[in-house]
């Protein structure tokens, strides 16, 4: 690639982007993600009805199948499924992105410290990571969701779900970061940085962490899909916030009438599948693009 030399430094990001652009499925995945993000951001403008609105009931459309007026049909209770799916996009993406942001921060901090330092703190952090990695998370999430929403944080709504998912979801990132930190801290350039007067903090966050961003980004992207899916499960099982529009809540409501009002379940179900698929395919594409062993 001689013609690429010198023009501008080809950073790992530039190289990765070039490879990502050539990957068709990754681009399709990204397009799906962009579509859902756009819907999420524009929800108040494109949804015909406000969230959890029973207006169609008064318009006499309760329980009607898909039509021009109600593209995804209407629930028996009178909620417009199209609007609700759109509002659900906003809320589910919020859960997925917020939980991913929090877990990534926790995971990077815990993993970096556990990998770089030796001693009691690292041992405790590694132990915690292992515990959180093996416990049956879903059961505990359901338990926490029920207990906290009933007893303690009544008004938190979806943010409560975000906090619970984050509390249980940071261990995979922490493991990756710890492993990479263990590997990198033995590298000569880390020793070189030390030999030139860099402090431990500086070495960890200026030299090691930037070198492990690639796998972190890949796993974080896949985690978004995972958290969305978990939220859908929680809401579907009726442990979510019944006052906030989510895809899971729609699936939960539609489940009772699935033989007659199939549209209540079908459309949010499709939204879940396509959205999760989009994030996963994009994550796979990122993984290929950022993998240093797959240089062209």
């Amino acid at each position: 690639m001689p013609e690429e030399r010198g023009k501008r430094g080809a950073s790992q990001w530039a190289v990765a982007w070039r490879r990502f652009k050539r990957n068709k499925s990754a681009l399709i995945g990204s397009a799906i993600v962009v579509f859902f993000v756009a819907v999420a951001l524009l929800a108040p403008y494109i949804a015909p009805y406000p969230a959890r609105s029973y207006l169609p009931l008064y318009e006499g459309d309760a329980g009607s199948p898909p039509s021009f007026k109600h593209p995804f049909g209407v629930e028996d209770s009178g909620i417009d499924v199209f609007s609700e799916t759109i509002h659900g996009t906003t809320n589910d993406l919020y859960v997925g992105l917020a939980a991913t942001l929090i877990t990534t921060l926790i995971g990077v901090a815990v993993g970096a410290v556990a990998g770089y330092f030796k001693g009691a703190i690292s041992d405790v952090l590694l132990g915690l990571t292992q515990v959180f990695f093996v416990i049956p998370v879903l059961l505990l999430i359901l338990l926490f969701a029920r207990v906290f929403s009933v007893l303690v944080f009544r008004g938190l709504g979806l943010t409560l779900i975000v906090l619970i998912l984050s509390f249980f979801g940071w261990s995979s990132i922490a493991f990756i970061v710890r492993g990479e930190t263990l590997r990198l801290k033995e590298m000569e350039f880390i020793q070189a940085a030390r030999a030139l007067g860099a402090s431990s903090y500086r070495i960890l966050f200026r030299h090691i962490v930037p070198n492990i961003l690639s796998p972190v980004i890949v796993v974080a992207t896949l985690n978004i899909a995972g958290f969305i899916l978990t939220e859908v499960v929680v809401s579907f099982l009726g442990f979510g916030d019944a006052n906030t529009s989510t895809w899971g809540l729609l699936l939960n409501e539609g489940f009772s009438f699935i033989r007659t009002d199939w549209w209540v379940s079908l459309f949010p179900g499709i939204a879940v599948v396509v959205c999760v698929l989009g994030f996963n395919v994009m994550g796979d594409g990122l993984s290929d693009a950022l993998n240093p062993r797959l240089r062209e």
Partner: protein, 329 residues
């Protein structure tokens, strides 16, 4: 009266591994006079690099300095706190590592790697640091320095990377520079250029240099004094000229014979055997299992470092009796 910049005495740096205690440096003493270049010579595992790491106090775990003293410019380094050491690394002492492909951080541009250190140790703005970085690249003989500043390490050749590693080590104008096999991973032609560069920079900056190498050719070319190390111990110390012409230690002789030369007619002699296990080093003289002159006493008692003449010490029971072969430079 020459000023002693670095005095290492009786240094012991051990690695506490699960298999046992590795005595990587076991009672090494080295003195370095200001403005001079000395060589630390020995095979892999002789303790050369660990000695340098000990001075910088960057010995990796599970290694630890267990005994000895290191005085730098009159100050005791081993009693300094990590914070005080950090201020010395860079402006006072620096190191160039063996492999430039791994000693530069792959995610930063050349400019960032240089300005980072400049801004850490000197009170420079980003623009000033960039300017200094540019002049450093010119100093170490990099063509098109403006362009190279923006490059990432993987876009540069090995020789160029090593020049940048040298520029980085010199960025804060250290008094003492360790060069830890700086040319081992480079092509022969590039080796010569890099050595020439180091020589020239040493003069220019008035630096004191410790050249760590296993190559007697580099020793002859670069250094004024040499300390020969084997299995974590000092075998012989002498002026480079004396060491080459009249070595007193069998190991030194063997090292000299293992250097190929253009005029050579005989076969190249190798040193039989391997460097010993440093968890359980040989009894007596550590070199005795590989020494062709070894006698019973060598197995039983460890020779002390004895004075041959002023400035020439050797640790061998039989140095008076052996007629060892040196070679001209």
């Amino acid at each position: 009266m020459v000023e002693k910049l670095l005095e290492i005495s009786n240094l012991r740096t051990y690695f506490f591994t699960e298999a046992g205690v590795v005595k990587a440096v076991d009672g090494i003493s080295v003195e370095v006079n200001k403005g001079k270049t000395i060589g630390l010579v020995g095979e892999s595992g002789s303790g050369k690099s660990v000695t340098a790491q000990s001075v910088l106090r960057i010995v990796p775990r599970p290694g630890r300095i267990v005994d000895g003293s290191i005085r730098f410019a009159g100050e005791d380094l081993l009693s300094k706190s990590e914070n005080e050491m950090r201020k010395l690394r860079g402006p006072q002492m620096a190191i160039v590592f063996q492999d430039p492909t791994t000693s530069l951080n792959p995610v930063y541009t050349v400019e960032k790697q240089l300005t980072d250190i400049l801004m850490l140790h000197k009170d420079l703005t980003k623009a000033e640091a960039s300017k200094t970085a540019l002049s450093l690249l010119q100093h170490v003989g990099i063509q098109e320095p403006e362009k190279r500043l923006k490059a990432y390490p993987h876009e540069l050749s090995g020789g160029m990377k090593q020049r940048i590693a040298i520029a980085r080590a010199l960025s804060c104008e250290p008094t003492l520079l360790f060069a830890d096999e700086p040319t081992t991973n480079l092509d022969v032609t590039i080796q010569a250029q890099v050595l020439e560069l180091l020589k020239q920079l040493q003069k220019e900056y008035g630096m004191t240099m410790v050249m760590i190498t296993h190559d007697m050719g580099i020793v002859a070319d670069m250094t004024e004094r040499v300390t020969v190390l084997y299995a974590g111990k000092v075998m012989e110390v002498a002026d480079t000229h004396t060491l080459f012409t009249s070595p007193k230690h069998p190991y030194t002789e063997a090292l000299l014979k293992a250097v190929p030369s253009v005029k050579q007619t005989r076969a190249l002699e190798v040193i039989p055997g391997n460097i010993p296990n440093l968890i359980e080093p040989p009894t007596g003289c550590v070199f005795h299992p590989r020494c062709k002159y070894a006698k019973e006493i060598c197995v039983k008692s460890e020779p002390a470092l004895e004075k041959v003449e002023n400035g020439h010490d050797v640790a061998c029971h039989f140095w008076r009796d052996l007629k060892l072969e040196g070679r001209g430079r």
